[in-house]
Symmetry: C2
Subunit: 548 residues, 2 copies
């Protein structure tokens, strides 16, 4: 027996879609009520979507969020669901007009309490001190006679703060509303944090996270409940809707376990993060189809597989754009891939366009190689414009790091699904995707040859990537240390990396910043993605080699 | 007679160029000493350049900055300049390794005091809470027996804080080290602020600002001194080096005036901001020449004039790229302009390339219009790659706002010098530049016809911009309210704008966010530029029309 049944509503909101988010919230309130829940908890900033960035500062938007909360409260009351306690993330405003990252408690047709997030993350991808004022008060409510503490996301990541203010509140449940973006390995950290806070308040912690893609972020869901003893009592799946119901035990009872979904493998999580990021970028922006170039190489093959999983193969246009330097296997690998995923496969030879540019402009060398890449970009954008589909860029993180791409060429696109996967991970996930297909009795989408052959841009005869770059396993190790761990040259040399390789890689990375700025967005899946996670000047004469 | 002669060193540092900045600092120390100065003050973060963004977090960079301070101190002492007091902005680190935005006081060969900026701007273009810890202590030093207070930039923009801590310090001079970016109308605000602080401490305030371009920011210099009575006692020119010497009066004396440079007109300041932004982007990135398309229209004409003023006409390649839709005046206006500024003028008809794309891809309508713009982009990038010059994008703020450009077409480039000028300002500054030439007895660079003819992209017969956009004077008014003042639909309608126009413009602006993200950087000159000044999600279903 329990006095309080809670439901965790793991949902996929859309930024700015106040009416759509409201409909989704009401739908889950009804479902929770039907399941006998007394309390339903939603993620961070549910009414508005998250993160809303500078939309938070717009008065018209603030008013709309507040109206939506009122409407939700009144609708629930009118439908006879007024007894349901609803914990809902939204956008609040203080008396000076400064926005709050806020949670409201809805009971009996109105807002009975408000909680404003204390700790505003202002690092990595987050800029919350830019837009929000900090809350100062704790929030403890009663639902069905049970004392429930309420905090928001970053509040549990910092020692001190609102959880430590709950010492004397004797809460029987702590609910955390989250908008916590996916990154590899983060799941464990969240669980450990929640376990620490559960021990601190001597009560179970319910961690409700959103899921879905939003520009360069992807949220994984994976909501869960841990007991005060650290035991995992409920766990929702990743990258999908969930409504998990759990009974808060009376003080003298052992906490019951609810659904505990087994976690996906690390490769699977990262793959589905890319799928989710792409799908939501396309669908939330009102599109349904994509076009990409299929070179026969591993990058475009993986992006095509991701796109097919996200949107259906029939919504993927794959274009082979051979030149006189393209090998036979490039064309056949591309065709096999397209067939495997059921894509709309097309062939557009680039020779006629390249020839007229080269002859009129008299270009040679890298300038001529770039013409090939840019003609391909123009063909993809032509299809994008004519058929109303998004073009995808297929560059990986290693290429993006060292600038191994042609701006306005292979870098064109609305979205870049694998921009945060280094080349080593591209191979990992391609093998994983194929193995997963085999395990499910399906045809592996990616041709084995695309995985095993040496990578080449095929912009001149016999070219392979390793002509101009260190081997990818070595390159990716150096990049991991320099980019993701922000180590300097001295630290890299101390770790035993070859001096020539270090200096070459660091110089390439530093000089490619301008290219990264004009690259399309794509989902962050690592601890440090290019983009707002790593903000460096373009104009910089800092060279590790010279002064570090 | 004065006990203290101070020198304000208004310099143009380069981000990351620790050795170059050090050489510049030492050079100005020697010059100040030669002028009899006892104290020389430099701008904010002089050793490192400013803003350094996440470079602040890199330990190798922190070490290099600290070494540079030591080297400066030791060099001055070794050269017999140890008696000179040097106030220098640099990068400090606290005991936990968190960076400070720091000022050091160098006297007699070592650092005699350190001050850490209290107020860290985290709005607009600034992200200082992301990278810096806040200082808490005030800093008052003695130089030649005179008590000098020291603060950094934002510290005087906030009431309370370090200046109010100086109540009992009886300072005889307050020195403010600044990295304050240019924006239209900001000069007056700075002077008024300094006057307020001067009254607060009952002493003169010396405001030392850096100048020069850094990616999307441009710093104007315009260092100055105001007396405790608010009188302007010294004023350095905008957008150039200055070393202004001033004698601090003894308590019983009237403050003397030093050089007071008359300010430029508003148009001149904004024009020179664009020139400085472009010149420093090119030169600091190790380039010297630029290429741009000359359409005969006003935007490319103004950019060409700016480029010629920044780099010399001989370093500007202007390419006329006529199509079958180009009018005769387009070609002749482009040619006259190129001749006026002494540019390297070239003609590359686009018809042969456009024809082969159109016939192979079978494109019509907007997709075909985009092909024309993208062929032009490819030609410019071909020249850029082959000759090692930067391509310039010529889009203005009005176009950028409503998405009136072709991504990977006219939007290509390393830098976009007029991206923060709306169309109305483009005309203003073109007229100003011509009038300025006349006043100096020179040939006006911009053909009168480019100023007076109706703007047209000439992508189809008889097309003019006003076919698809409201008249520019109206458009710019709506944009000013919606973008720069973040007003909502309700506020715009209340101001009397036509509902149809408002809804059309707002929708265009909201839908063009993805295009702006891939646009090149360019100098901020208004209170709110596109870019990190206005951070909005690409994926957003918020439409003012529906819910506001």
């Amino acid at each position: 027996m329990s006095d309080l049944r809670i439901a965790m509503a793991q949902i996929n909101t859309c930024v700015g879609d106040i009416a759509g988010n409201r409909a989704l919230i009401l739908d889950r309130c009804r479902a929770a009520y039907a399941l006998g829940a007394h309390l339903v908890a939603f993620p961070e900033m549910t009414t508005t979507g998250y993160p809303i960035e500078d939309l938070a500062l717009r008065e018209s938007f603030q008013r709309a969020a507040e109206r939506s909360v009122t409407e939700i409260a009144q609708t629930l009351e009118a439908e006879g669901l007024g007894s349901l306690t609803v914990l809902l993330g939204t956008l609040g405003v203080n008396t000076e007009g400064r926005p709050f990252n806020q949670a409201v408690v809805i009971q009996h047709g109105s807002v009975s309490a408000r909680y404003n997030k204390h700790h505003l993350p202002n690092y990595g991808v987050f800029d919350e001190r830019r837009i929000f004022a900090s809350g100062e008060d704790r929030c403890v409510i009663e639902a069905n006679g049970v004392r429930v503490g309420l905090v928001i996301c970053e509040d549990i990541w910092q020692d001190g703060g609102p959880v430590s203010q709950m010492d004397d509140a004797d809460v029987q449940l702590l609910v955390v509303l989250n908008g916590s973006p996916f990154e590899e390995g983060k799941g464990h950290i969240r669980t450990e944090l929640a376990q620490r806070r559960a021990a601190e308040v001597a009560a179970p912690v319910a961690y409700v996270n959103m899921w879905g893609g939003q520009d360069d972020l992807v949220f994984d869901g994976q909501s869960f409940i841990v007991g005060s003893d650290g035991r995992l009592l409920a766990a929702a799946p990743a990258f999908t809707d969930a409504l998990i119901v759990w009974d808060v035990p009376r003080d003298d009872q052992t906490p019951p376990a609810s659904e505990v979904t087994a976690p996906l493998s690390d490769d699977a999580k990262t793959y589905w993060a890319c799928v989710t990021g792409l799908r939501d970028y396309v669908l939330k922006n009102g599109m349904s189809r994509v076009v990409l170039g299929l070179s026969g190489g591993i990058d475009s093959a993986l992006v095509a597989a991701i796109a097919a999983d996200a949107l259906g193969g029939e919504n993927v246009i794959g274009v082979s754009m051979p030149s006189k330097f393209s090998s036979d296997h490039s064309k056949s690998d591309a065709e096999v891939l397209a067939e495997n995923i059921g894509a709309d496969y097309r062939v557009q030879p680039i020779e006629p366009m390249v020839a007229v540019f080269e002859s009129q402009l008299g270009l040679t060398g890298v300038a001529a190689e770039n013409i090939q890449a840019r003609v391909r970009g123009m063909i993809l954008m032509g299809i994008s414009n004519a058929e109303g589909v998004f073009a995808l860029a297929t560059g990986n993180k290693s290429e993006l790091a060292v600038g191994y791409s042609t701006v306005y060429g292979d870098a064109v696109g609305a979205f870049a699904p694998i921009k945060d996967l280094d080349k080593t991970r591209v191979w990992d996930l391609s093998r994983w995707r194929n193995a997963d297909a085999v395990a499910r009795g399906e045809t592996p989408p990616i041709p084995e040859n695309s995985i095993s052959k040496p990578p080449s841009a095929e912009l001149r005869p016999g070219q392979v990537d390793q002509d101009s770059l260190p081997p990818y396993d070595l390159l990716d190790e150096v990049l991991d240390a320099y980019v993701e761990h922000a180590e300097g040259r001295a630290e890299l040399l101390a770790r035993g990396f070859d001096e020539y390789v270090v200096d070459k890689v660091l110089s390439l990375v530093d000089r490619a910043e301008w290219k990264r700025r004009q690259y399309p967005p794509g989902p962050k899946v690592t601890a440090l993605a290019f983009g707002r996670d790593r903000r460096l000047p373009i104009t910089s004469r800092w060279r590790e080699k010279v002064e570090s």
